[in-house]
């Protein structure tokens, strides 16, 4: 088939050759292209209407002052972005997202990698499986349910955490965890780490399993201890997964919403606002939809940059061994 087409192509290159022979393959391939395009058209349309059109629309709305009641839309140029720069709650929310990302990297990347290495070093397969399951269970719970669960754990009067602290002699440490500005954000972040830790650990465990056992055996023969083995064998060979997890974790930290809404709604006194909840509050509580659209654009830009970095990392040459 290839030979035939190749012959035809060669013929077509001869000057003065009759055109009917030339047109047959190009018409055929053109038809194939059109046919192929029709197959992907529904997906392209769906993607365009439900992903890219709203993005473009949202960008447009970020330049408007819009009254949802009257429907009046006034072009205000970059006012919403200027307001954003001068809004202390926006900066506080952004700071909370950065804090969220920093803590998440410590727990969901660094600590998860260490835990995965420990689990994978357990000799008995049965115990390994059991430990993986134990750490993964919180990840199977929805964020909303986990948020509600921790809301009750943190409850100042009836909550489990204060109850335990009081009954093991650390009553002085009992706090209104979600009720005061100094502890609310870290309490929400702590819940989130509990929920996401197992998932990261599992992914690292899978990455560690792909490392050839010969490398560990060679290290053992050379008399390398466990900790050095971790840094000289495990860490370099899960580099790809570490990079990916770092990007995914940071990206997730800038999109956090559910746990904050369920546990604190951004309070007290806006101390737990993150970009997602401040967007929601600006739009749906303060009726400032143009401003909310501007916040949405900031979230979009931040996550877009992170996504591009992620793409760059995943397209880099993989580690071979």
């Amino acid at each position: 088939m290839l030979t035939v087409e190749g012959t035809r192509t060669r013929r077509a290159r001869v000057p003065g050759n009759p055109s009917p022979v030339q047109q047959t393959p190009s018409r055929k391939s053109g038809f194939r292209k059109v046919l192929g395009f029709t197959w992907v058209l529904p997906a392209l349309l769906t993607l365009g209407v439900f992903v890219y059109l709203p993005l473009v629309q949202n960008f447009g709305f970020s330049f408007l002052e819009w009254d949802i009641y009257s429907g009046s839309q006034t072009f205000v140029g970059g006012d919403n972005y200027a307001k954003l720069i001068n809004d202390p709650i926006f900066w506080s929310a952004l700071g909370n997202n950065v804090l969220y990302a920093a803590v998440s990297i410590v727990f969901q990347v660094c600590a998860a990698l260490v835990l995965a290495a420990i689990i994978e070093s357990v000799r008995r397969e049965r115990w390994r499986r059991a430990l993986r399951a134990v750490y993964f269970v919180p990840s199977a719970i929805s964020l909303t349910v986990a948020g509600l669960l921790f809301y009750f754990i943190y409850e100042p009067n009836l909550g489990l955490l204060n109850f335990i602290l009081k009954n093991v002699g650390f009553g002085a440490l009992a706090q209104p965890w979600l009720g005061q500005e100094s502890t609310a954000m870290m309490s929400v972040i702590a819940m989130s780490q509990w929920q996401g830790f197992g998932y990261s650990t599992l992914l690292f465990a899978v990455a560690i399993q792909r490392i050839p056992s010969e490398l560990y055996e060679a290290a053992a023969i050379d008399g390398i201890g466990t900790i050095r083995r971790f840094f000289t064998v495990t860490v370099p060979l899960v580099r790809e997964m570490t990079g990916l997890m770092t990007i995914v974790t940071i990206s997730g930290a800038f999109q956090v919403f559910n746990e904050v809404m369920v546990m604190t709604s951004g309070g007290p006194n806006n101390s737990t606002q993150v970009l997602g909840t401040w967007l929601y509050r600006s739009g749906f509580v303060r009726n400032d939809f143009g401003y909310a659209a501007a916040i949405a654009m900031v979230i979009f830009l931040v996550t877009l940059v992170i996504a591009l970095v992620q793409l760059w990392i995943t397209h880099r040459r993989r580690v071979e061994w």
Binding site: I68, G179, Q180, Q255, V256, F289
Partner: protein
């Protein structure tokens, strides 16, 4: 991944709401003819604030009865809770999908719909002097009056009172306080008797605003207070605000067990503390009276009493004012079934249905004259409404009476006062800034 989905959903919700507005929101230009003869066919959509027990069956039963009378009419109920209806209403508004009949608070909340041309002018059918209008108390109708026109159908009246456990008071040897200072003094004996003096949960922020609004009414002269609700006329520099914020902080610190952690406690947890018999007092709406004394609760109707939040000594405001307001329903100005919607609401507010609404287990004191009587309602609901009716003025909830930016600043300020992170002066300054920005 779930986190991403959640935010994506929120963003999509907003973007969709905004996007849809372009094609659906303002497409209908028809103006409702509420006085026309209704055509008893088609589907009538209604957004209520009656989700959850014990309220949910009320509108469901009414819809079923109305359908029996008019078999060609379909009724689509969208029932939301007090917490969720704000988001739902705004989403439906932004997407141009407001139902034919929808719930509304009074004050700035309803004014937004009126100003946006989304609420039908009901003056011809419900103004005082009309057949339907004369079935309501005039104050209730006036609560939905804007630019000398009547827009709302007040369904029930509401007010805020301190509910107390009579047994707890007897055990502690305290009397019903007659001043704010006596209220604070009563807390220690109640605590010694084994009760949490005042159960208070402010996780959602608005319960704190209810205390503040009543204290503002006591401490700030009425005309100053009213002027300060509107950013255009607001000055927010009366010393009564700081006094009220200080009184609120004293109450939280001296009388609640949760104290600075009150922001971490659910409103319903506080409600259960009174109903379960562990708390001596709890600041609540009339709508909750029958709930806290429902069958199965430790607090019985006989042991339950109410009193107005006592007035602080030397307060410069109106000691007879009471916080509350009727709550009701608006009819979509663009509804093609506006006349049918009016007919349905006339059915809802008919005397027998109004009496049912005012009775246990619903306990929502109807705005219809004569519906709340000692025979139809529980003793405390009747007593509460009587006090509301006799108040010198009813001050609307702080989170609905003013513009959202200012309400939001009060909300954050109330939380900051409770947690002790801001002084009253700092809170007032932040509210003043929000009000100036909203001008």
């Amino acid at each position: 991944m779930q986190r991403r989905n959640s935010l994506a959903a929120a963003a999509l919700l907003m973007v969709s709401a905004l996007g849809l507005s372009g094609c659906a929101g303002q497409s209908s230009t028809a103006v409702a003819d509420v006085g026309a003869e209704p055509e008893f066919s088609g589907s009538l959509s209604i957004l209520t604030k009656f989700a959850g027990e014990p309220l949910q069956p009320y509108f469901e039963d009414l819809a079923a009865e109305y359908k029996e009378l008019h078999p060609e009419v379909e009724i689509e109920l969208i029932q939301e809770t007090d917490q969720s209806i704000k988001d739902k209403t705004k989403t439906l508004t932004a997407s141009g999908a407001l139902p034919d009949i929808y719930f509304s608070w009074t004050g700035d909340w309803a004014e937004n719909f009126v100003g946006g041309g989304l609420a039908a002018d009901l003056t011809n059918v419900i103004a005082p002097g009309t057949e339907w209008g004369d079935t309501f108390g005039q104050a209730s109708l006036d609560a939905f009056k804007y630019n000398d026109k009547y827009y709302g159908i007040p369904l029930y009246n509401n007010g805020k009172f301190m509910g107390y456990n009579k047994t707890a008071f007897e055990e502690a040897g305290v009397e019903v306080p007659t001043s704010f200072e006596e209220l604070i003094e009563s807390c220690q004996p109640l605590r010694e008797a084994g009760y949490e003096p005042i159960a208070f949960g402010n996780k959602d922020g608005w319960p704190g605003l209810h205390y503040l609004q009543q204290l503002f009414a006591y401490n700030v002269p009425a005309e100053v207070l009213q002027a300060d609700f509107a950013p255009e006329t607001a000055e927010l520099n009366h010393e009564g605000y700081v006094a009220a914020l200080e009184q609120f902080k004293t109450l939280v610190d001296e009388c609640t067990d949760s104290g600075e952690g009150t922001n971490g406690v659910l409103y319903t947890t506080a409600q259960e503390a009174l109903a379960g018999g562990s708390a001596a007092m709890y600041y609540q709406e009339i709508l909750e009276f029958d709930t806290v004394t429902a069958d199965g609760n430790a607090l019985t109707p006989e042991n339950f009493g109410i009193f107005k939040l006592p007035v602080p000594a030397g307060a410069e405001g109106d000691p007879e004012a009471i916080e509350g307001s009727p709550e009701g329903y608006l009819i979509n100005a663009k509804s093609p079934r506006a006349a049918l919607a009016v007919d349905f609401m006339k059915f809802v507010t008919a005397p027998e249905n109004a009496a049912t609404l005012s009775s246990p287990p619903y306990g929502q004191p109807s705005a219809v004259v004569g519906a709340v009587t000692p025979e139809t309602s529980s003793e405390v609901v009747h007593a509460g409404i009587d006090q509301v009716n006799n108040a010198s003025q009813v001050v609307v909830w702080l989170d609905t009476v003013t513009v959202p930016e200012v309400a939001d600043a009060w909300l954050a300020g109330g939380e900051a006062i409770i947690s002790g992170s801001s002084t009253p002066e700092q809170v007032l300054e932040s509210v003043r800034n929000a009000s100036n920005a909203a001008k």
